[in-house]
């Protein structure tokens, strides 16, 4: 095929892409995107993961290392079918916070730290440069394939020249469509559609070549399978470490590659598209790799020894005389390379302008935010950055001489960007991740990667002297680039992956654990980690003294006049004001910052507003105050609840006490009338009979009888007064106790005999367990007996059973003796149980037996004095009292 025709078709193809991008941009400008915003376009745009490395390199990879090339697709497949874990969150964060690039996401998450933005940018640029060089190299190689096919064998173009022209052409296209405007959301519909078209072209090309190889050259699927089995397709020696490591690496890369982040997150139109892409993108990858092995096997079979397997996709059809198919394959490879370079350059240019150029500009010209036309500064910075990125790619290609196999460079670039992974994952899943940790992790990872993988890739002696490879850095054996700490078992890429990730994660975690994040950082951390749980929460700006006009001026310089004005107008209307100048409320400042960050990145937007408003006035205290507002409310209501419960309890206690008091007061009244009655009755009879006696003139037997009545009544009075006196003595605690050893059994015997005087007419059955009573107590025997007598008498008095029975149960436990007196009457009603021990308390008059209601009160006072207690024992089917008394009363009575 004439070389000029080749160049012509390239130019025509490029023109076609220009046209596509142009038309789409026009439609986007008119807001008529329609099906161009469909999940299909989104999925196809993701295919920039498949670069020329895939298109050409996969076959070479398969020819060299068997199935290992599959790992490069398995990683992304796992990440996408597991989109619910990570991608969904990533896309949500990207959309909600107007993230413009990977560097922007990291810097924004860690407190809008521009330093992190710079570090990520550096990593991305350093890792991307060889990758771009790889694309240039593949294009040069593919041109070379056709050039060598010239009949006269002349080389119409020097490879270097091809590389230059390709780089210039790509830079032109990218600048034209990538920096047309400064969108609020860094989206490029034209370019996305163009790369979707290219995705179709490369898939069709590869499938066409594959089909030709399987059904055109080989004799169908069966034959290919036979060839695979027969082929001496090098050693697919499964190395578990390398296999696993490469799957991990490609999984990390699909998230962290700047161009993947660009199409995956930044250019995402609708989160729903991700659901479709979750299976459609793996399907695309599978289709891309379906024919890789057949092409490699057949190529090894058919092509002469020593031909470059990286170019089998081209050389196979050429060798079979299929010029048209070769042309298609060439355009496929061209598409792969160009789409990758374009998006990568845009992503890198965004990072460079937002994180390096603009901050520098603002630093050098402090008043710039209000004065300069930043739009043109940003756009020009991007244009320069695109040119610079491509120039660096070309320089790398030129210096490295395009010698290394494609796959190796690709893996090294993957490993470079994978260093961002810990900071990224930590940032969106772990609120404890801090800026210091992220910086340490990134720098550690970058250093280890550079030392073990990137610098050695230039070859021994190129950047690192030969001696370092054999003897280690500074002659330290354990610092050899391919055997850190003496680990020689791994191949170089696994080794570099292992150590860079391990040390990166270690530094990241330790740094995060031992540092304290600033307020903005904590705010951002919470907002990112909890992105699904609603709004950001607290405000970031305090109400500042800032002229809204200055803000408008600044916004115009970034967003453009029209959109800035409409933003301000709608904000003013929302505040209920006419005109274009809203009050600089915290809310409005927030809104403005988010909008600006869509154009220049979060860190820069924050810095620019800070220039006008003053420093970011939020402090840790503010943060805690606002953040804990709801917690405080919760706590307050909990306190109220607790207080209310306490009040209810107190009220209950008070009500009880009040009831008791009321009852007591009633009892007391009753008692007073009772006692006056009790005193009055004997007094009346004493007076009456003594009057009769004083009148004389009585029969002697009558005198004796009346005298006895007077005596008995006087005794009753005395007893009543004795009881009252006794009680008051006991209550004062001034009672004298006669402590001594006494037999419990003896005391109960005495009490039973004494109590027999009460209602001697009733026959009681007394149930006792004599062995249990055989013990000696150290106590005041008389007083205790008095208590027993009282209780037994009560039983005799009040037990209303027809065959009354009294059980006396004695138990001893841990130094105390309990004596229960249980009768079989109907007991004491519950409401009265608390009252019976009160003075003057008395139950119904129905079975009252002449007492004054002091007996139990006296018992209680006695027991208190004896260090024990007497209590009513409920639930015994009758009236039951329990006397508890210490086995040995040590306290001497006062």
């Amino acid at each position: 095929m004439p070389f000029n025709l080749l160049v012509l078709s390239c130019v025509l193809y490029a023109a076609f892409l220009f046209a596509v991008a142009f038309v789409v941009e026009r439609r986007a400008a008119r807001g008529r995107l329609g099906w161009l915003r469909s999940p299909v376009v989104y999925t196809l745009s993701l295919s920039i993961y498949c670069t020329a490395w895939t298109f050409y390199g996969a076959v070479g990879y398969a020819a060299r290392s068997g199935l290992e090339f599959l790992t490069i697709y398995f990683g992304p497949t796992l990440v996408f079918i597991g989109w619910w874990w990570l991608l969904r969150k990533l896309v949500r964060i990207g959309r909600r916070y107007h993230v413009t690039s990977l560097a922007d996401l990291i810097s924004s998450r860690y407190g809008k730290s521009n330093m992190l933005g710079v570090i990520v940018t550096v990593i991305a640029v350093v890792a991307a440069t060889p990758y771009i060089a790889l694309q240039l190299q593949s294009m040069v190689l593919s041109f070379g394939v056709f050039a060598s096919a010239e009949p006269d064998g002349s080389r119409p173009l020097d490879p270097d020249q091809i590389a230059v022209w390709v780089a210039v052409g790509l830079a032109f296209f990218t600048i034209l469509f990538g920096t047309r405007n400064l969108d609020a959301r860094e989206q490029h519909h034209g370019i996305v559609t163009a790369i979707a078209v290219e995705a179709v072209v490369k898939l069709v090309a590869l499938l066409a070549v594959g089909s030709f190889v399987v059904w055109g050259i080989a004799g169908g699927v069966g034959d290919v399978i036979a060839r695979i089995d027969a082929a001496d397709l090098s050693a697919w020696q499964v190395q578990p470490g390398r296999w696993t490591g490469l799957i991990f690496l490609s999984a990390a890369a699909v998230i962290c590659l700047p161009r993947m982040f660009q199409v995956l997150v930044v250019e995402n139109e609708d989160e729903g598209h991700l659901a479709r892409a979750s299976w459609a993108f793996p399907l695309y990858l599978m289709a891309m790799s379906l024919f890789i092995v057949p092409i490699a096997v057949v190529g090894l079979d058919r092509l002469p020894e020593g031909s470059n397997p990286d170019m089998f996709v081209l050389t196979l059809p050429l060798a079979e005389g299929q010029a048209g198919l070769a042309m298609l394959a060439f355009l496929g490879g061209f598409s792969s390379a160009t789409s990758m370079v374009i998006v990568e350059a845009i992503a890198l240019a965004t990072m460079i302008s937002n994180h390096v150029v603009i901050p520098l500009w603002l630093r050098l010209r402090p008043g710039a935010a209000a004065e300069d036309d930043l739009r043109s500064v940003v756009l020009n910075a991007r244009r320069l950055a695109i040119a610079a990125v491509l120039a660096m790619g070309y320089a790398y290609y030129h210096v490295s001489g395009g010698s290394a196999a494609l796959a190796t460079i690709g893996l090294i670039a993957f490993l470079g960007v994978a260093q961002v992974l810990p900071a990224l994952l930590g940032g969106i899943f772990w609120r404890g991740a801090t800026r210091t940790g992220a910086v340490l992790g990134l720098l550690t990872g970058l250093t280890v990667w550079a030392y073990t993988s990137y610098l050695p890739s230039f070859g021994p002696g190129a950047v690192l002297p030969q001696a370092i490879f054999t003897e280690g850095l500074f002659g330290l054996d354990w610092l050899r680039p391919h055997a850190l700490f003496g680990t020689q078992a791994m191949d170089p890429i696994t080794h570099a992956l292992f150590w860079s990730m391990a040390l990166n994660v270690l530094a990241f975690c330790l740094g995060s654990l031992f540092t304290f994040p600033g307020p903005v950082e904590r705010l951002q951390g919470a907002a990112f980690v909890n992105v699904f749980e609603g709004a950001v929460g607290p405000q970031r700006w305090a109400r500042g003294q800032v002229d809204p006009e200055a803000l408008l001026g600044m916004a115009q310089r970034i967003l453009g006049e029209e959109s800035a004005l409409s933003l301000f107008q709608s904000a003013a209307r929302a505040q209920g004001k006419d005109g274009f100048l809203p009050d600089p409320t915290p809310n409005f400042l927030d809104q403005l910052e988010t909008r600006l960050s869509g154009s220049v990145g979060a860190a820069t937007a924050h810095a620019m507003i800070s220039q006008l408003v003053g420093r970011a006035t939020v402090t840790v205290e503010d943060l805690m105050a606002v953040a804990s507002e709801s917690a405080q409310i919760l706590e307050y209501s909990a306190q109220l609840e607790a207080r209310e419960a306490e009040l209810t309890r107190t009220a209950g206690a008070l009500r009880e006490a009040n009831e008791k008091l009321t009852q007591l007061s009633l009892q007391k009244d009753a008692f007073l009338s009772q006692i006056s009655h009790e005193l009055r009755t004997p007094m009346t009879s004493i007076r009456a009979f003594s009057e009769i006696l004083t009148e004389g003139d009585l029969a002697p037997e009558l005198v004796i009888r009346y005298g006895k009545i007077i005596h008995d009544e006087a005794k009753r009075l005395t007893r009543l007064l004795d009881d009252l006196l006794d009680l008051s003595v006991l209550e004062n605690g001034s009672v004298q106790l006669n402590l001594g050893l006494a037999s419990l059994q003896g005391m109960i015997d005495t009490a039973l005999i004494a109590a027999r005087q009460t209602r001697p007419d009733r026959e009681f059955l007394v149930v006792r367990d004599l062995p249990s009573e055989a013990m000696y107590l150290k106590t005041d025997a008389d007083r205790l007996t008095q208590v027993f007598i009282n209780l037994i008498s009560n039983a005799r008095k009040y037990c209303d059973a027809t065959r009354p029975e009294l059980r006396i149960v004695v138990r001893q436990r841990s130094g105390r003796v309990t004596v229960d007196f249980i009768d079989n009457g109907k007991g004491i009603p519950k409401e009265s149980q608390t009252l019976i021990f009160e003075k003057f308390a008395r139950l119904t008059d129905a079975n009252r037996a002449g007492g004054a209601g002091l007996g139990l009160a006296i018992c209680r006072e006695i027991m208190t004095n004896l260090g024990g207690s007497v209590a009513y024992l409920p639930g015994q089917k009758g009236a039951a009292f329990r006397v508890t008394v210490p086995l040995r009363l040590e306290r001497m009575a006062a």
């Binding site: 199935l67 499964v238 609603g534």
Partner: protein, 89 residues
């Protein structure tokens, strides 16, 4: 601290939706398992590539894609609200 009150038990439809999410979370783990499984087929001196390996990998791959495609519509449907229903375990 500020735990929003969530129902302890769910109705049938939300319950299904949650299990669907669980399935979506499990899928990559299953996938990783199946893709790493061949590492254990350590035959003696495994030096050549057999067509069986190729077929195994592509079948697993196709199966994973099919499962992901089956799960995706249900997941997208439940993504509407970002309230308590949406997140998390």
């Amino acid at each position: 601290m500020k735990q929003p009150r969530r129902p302890l038990f769910l109705a049938r439809a939300p319950y299904r939706r949650r299990r669907l999410r669980d399935a979506a979370r499990l899928l990559p783990i299953v996938g990783a398992f199946l893709l790493l499984l061949p590492l254990l087929w350590a035959r003696e001196a495994r030096l050549s590539l057999t067509s069986a390996d190729v077929i195994y990998f592509f079948l697993v791959w196709l199966g994973l894609i099919g499962l992901a495609a089956a799960l995706a519509p249900g997941l997208r449907g439940g993504d509407g609200g970002d309230g308590a229903d949406d997140e998390e375990d």
